[in-house]
Subunit: 507 residues, 2 copies
């Protein structure tokens, strides 16, 4: 990508002014887009273009772009497909720098749409306008409070950036991750990629200082080689998470219909992803899980996991999940076991998983959990800890409708206060441990429902998952990426050594 | 299993009176168990046994079991392990029929515990007492309002029954399924299985008329052959869902420590499960997903799926998930496409997945969704429908904290009322369609958060999942079980034919 394009994308993501085609005072996509821009608190100038109304949602509107007295940085276009070429011509006349085209009915619907799309490309090229879409849902840059999206989506601010070939999937994933405290910096729904491509955005994000984690939902690429090249550049400096859609014949056919892209062989992608250090997500939920893991957790330096649980079955399932994901259930040293013996009840499992049993969980002070976890984190044979916790309030909430007697309900609630494994009250101490020992801690909330305690853990850098398999899978990907980085560094060091030797020889 | 044992288990699950050892007026496991029995609204007699207090939680208590004036059906024992033998002796003197032993510190902790466990077995055998546990969490029979559990768990009433080698995992799974409207009839946390085994419970549930779906969390079996035999009997008449823990070396080691069971080879289990029509769950979440699917949905008669979505990416991922799970993304006939053309916007995908696009989802009356789904269900080439819906309120709830301006928030909420894909208002019509066409419908709530609309769908027999992979996986298991039943029926028919021919020949 030439310097010119980096500069262009910088302008696309940082417009000082926006012209909006297709907003009105009725509820339609252009209007929702304007609402979203306002809701995001964009500070630049906004010029709605409307043939009749002189204001849209209280903002001064102009009949034509030529009536706008200034040159505009970004045009957002939400008009019927057949009108897009003339709007683009107007943009050229104004000197607009970039455009986002929401409109659909282009190449994704067949030959006629394809011809129209080519006309738009031709006009844009003529005027030097680079554009996102068509058939896309827009862009975000939280650094300048810009949420130029056609659906109502305001993500949390942060350092994850995402490119998605499905706007719906991308925006929903952002909001789901936001609700777990993950923040986003930039987002693009790339649509048909008539002009700007997935690869352009990724390359831009690689050099973008506000982006620390890159995520992509990819149905297909127009230029496989370039995609792999930018992926390689990305993973050198930032975790790059990819959810690949269209990995089967059926999915590939659907992808072609969706954005006109060709999907390519899953095996080829998988092999290339592994080689290049790309973190591959299995489905939309796994993608959010991985985003959370990589934006919150530190990376493990080895594969040895300690599993801390009060439910033996969960210990067994976590062990299975660890082994299936290439992790190792750490063999505890005699010293570690002896130290644990001093504080745990006699019936604990005396090994890893560290199972304090349900009786243990119900009968002793939860501070012992924190002490046990400290013993595990300080043990040389342990690289990371997966521990279970339980949202008791959520459990009661699900169950109470089944209890007819109000008195009993109240007794139950009082009786169990302070009982069971109560991570919430010990959350801050657990976070301190993670900070002190610099080993990843992953939490499994075995109740199946997130709650307030999880938010505190997650804000403290301990991601929480609802299943043992999710926890082990994310931890294994954190390890995979660290191992990739180490290998990369070794290669670079070896190359340096070679150069040193060469220099010495030639001296 | 002899008739005698069926009778014994019938008595275990249907006690008219309970003696409870280990409850007091302080919070401990026995006390929580009594609370749970009371909360469950058990109608039989309860005799707490306590050396000093003459009442426990307001119920008349007795110093010794011999002071109880009547013969007792069930003893629930929550005393230190070393005291269990003498309690069992007291039970024999009373003529107690069955026992549930919560106490831990038996065979799961080593040789000494194993000897103690053998002593308990010997005493029980002498007195003809069959018992659950030790190291278990209890039993449930909602037909008689019995929740004899050591943790506070009151599941919804229904026709699913479960045996779990992890009490915590079992009770949590029941409550998670309950919160989706799944009801349970019987439950056993089988613990160390010193006397009654997993296989006994399963065989009992096979002939139990109140049980229509059987679920088991299995870490290991004591008698593999008998387990497979009862599994075979089970699947002939009822869906039998198994989550197998200890499928790896690490998991198997953990399982041995947990309940002393040997785990066995995963490949052997997998092959046997497939052969016997067992429905295998991948993890604890998948188990709840499958319970929901099998207790709510009808079974598909073929593998052809129609996918209805307003998010193209979700259509692609669902297509991938279907193919990966052995389902077929149905090729729509020209007739079906032409009929859909009449009501869908021109930019719909004109194929399967039926993608009405985000623009479509946002711009037209949600009644069109119902009409489209009816066209799909009535099509001969479609055996089942997976459709997407969106919890808009949940989405807004997650997002609103990110919006600083209250006015904009309110405008956004008003602006979007009645917009987007609104399944909730059409839920009843969708359920009617499923009833009329007798084809399974599976819903994917793409927002990632369940809400009220899902409850209505699920109560109407349409299970809702949060990911495309979960939906496709459950649907594939529904098909797998129907295909198993059909194969089974064909074999039986062929055998009948053989007998007919034989009869005719010998006549």
């Amino acid at each position: 990508m030439s310097y010119n394009i980096v500069e262009k994308l910088d302008k696309l993501f940082n417009p000082k002014s926006i012209a909006l085609f297709g907003a009105s005072n009725k509820i339609k996509i252009g209007t929702i887009s304007l609402l979203t821009i306002l809701a995001g608190d964009y500070k630049g100038e906004i010029y709605p273009i409307h043939p009749r109304d002189d204001n849209i949602l209280g903002i001064k509107a102009y009949p034509k772009l030529k009536d706008v007295p200034k040159q505009v940085d970004l045009a957002i276009i939400s008009v019927p497909a057949k009108n897009v070429p003339s709007v683009m011509e107007d943009c050229i006349d104004n000197g607009v720098g970039s455009a986002v085209i929401y409109s659909s009915n282009f190449s994704e619907v067949g030959e006629e749409g394809k011809r129209l799309e080519e006309e738009v490309i031709r006009i844009a090229k003529k005027g030097g306008i680079r554009f996102v879409g068509p058939n896309c849902m827009g862009i975000v840059n939280t650094s300048i409070n810009l949420c130029a999206l056609m659906n109502l989506t305001i993500p949390r601010k942060g350092d994850v950036s995402m490119v998605s070939q499905s706007g719906t999937l991308g925006t929903i994933s952002m909001i789901n991750a936001s609700s777990h405290g993950v923040g986003f910096n930039k987002f693009v729904s790339s649509g048909n990629e008539a002009d700007l491509k997935m690869e352009d955005y990724i390359e831009y994000l690689v050099q973008d200082e506000d982006t620390h984690v890159i995520v992509a939902f990819v149905e297909g690429t127009r230029n496989g080689k370039r995609f792999i090249d930018v992926a390689e550049k990305a993973t050198e400096s930032k975790p790059f998470i990819i959810l690949k859609g269209g990995t089967t014949t059926a999915g590939s056919t659907a992808a072609h219909s969706h954005t006109g892209s060709m999907a390519g062989s899953d095996q080829i992608y998988d092999a290339l992803f592994r080689q290049k250090g790309v973190i591959r997500a299995n489905d939309e939920q796994d993608m959010v899980n991985l985003i959370k893991g990589f934006s919150k957790s530190i990376l493990p330096i080895g594969k040895n996991v300690a599993i801390y649980t009060s439910g033996g079955g969960f210990g067994v399932l976590t062990s299975d999940a660890c082994e299936k994901n290439g992790l190792n259930v750490a063999k505890l040293s005699d010293e570690t076991i002896n130290t644990l013996n001093k504080i745990l009840p006699p019936f604990w499992s005396h090994g890893n998983p560290i199972d304090i049993t349900a009786s243990g969980g119900m009968s002793f002070d939860s501070r012992i959990n924190v002490e046990s976890m400290e013993i595990l984190l300080s043990a040389e044979e342990v690289d990371s800890v997966i521990f279970m916790e339980f949202n008791f309030d959520g459990y009661m909430e699900k169950m109470l409708p089944e209890i007819p007697n109000e008195d009993i309900k109240n007794i139950m609630i009082v009786a169990t206060e302070g009982g069971l494994l109560d991570v919430e009250s010990e959350t801050k101490k657990i976070i301190e441990l993670k900070e002190r020992y610099k080993k990843p801690m992953i939490c499994v909330n075995i109740s199946g429902t997130y709650y307030g305690g999880d938010k505190i853990l997650e804000d403290g850098g301990i991601p929480v998952y609802l299943t043992t398999s999710d926890a082990a899978h994310v931890l294994s990907k954190l390890l995979y990426y660290n191992e990739f980085l180490n290998k990369k560094r070794r290669v670079i060091d070896e190359e340096k050594d070679m150069i040193d030797i060469k220099e010495r020889i030639t001296k």
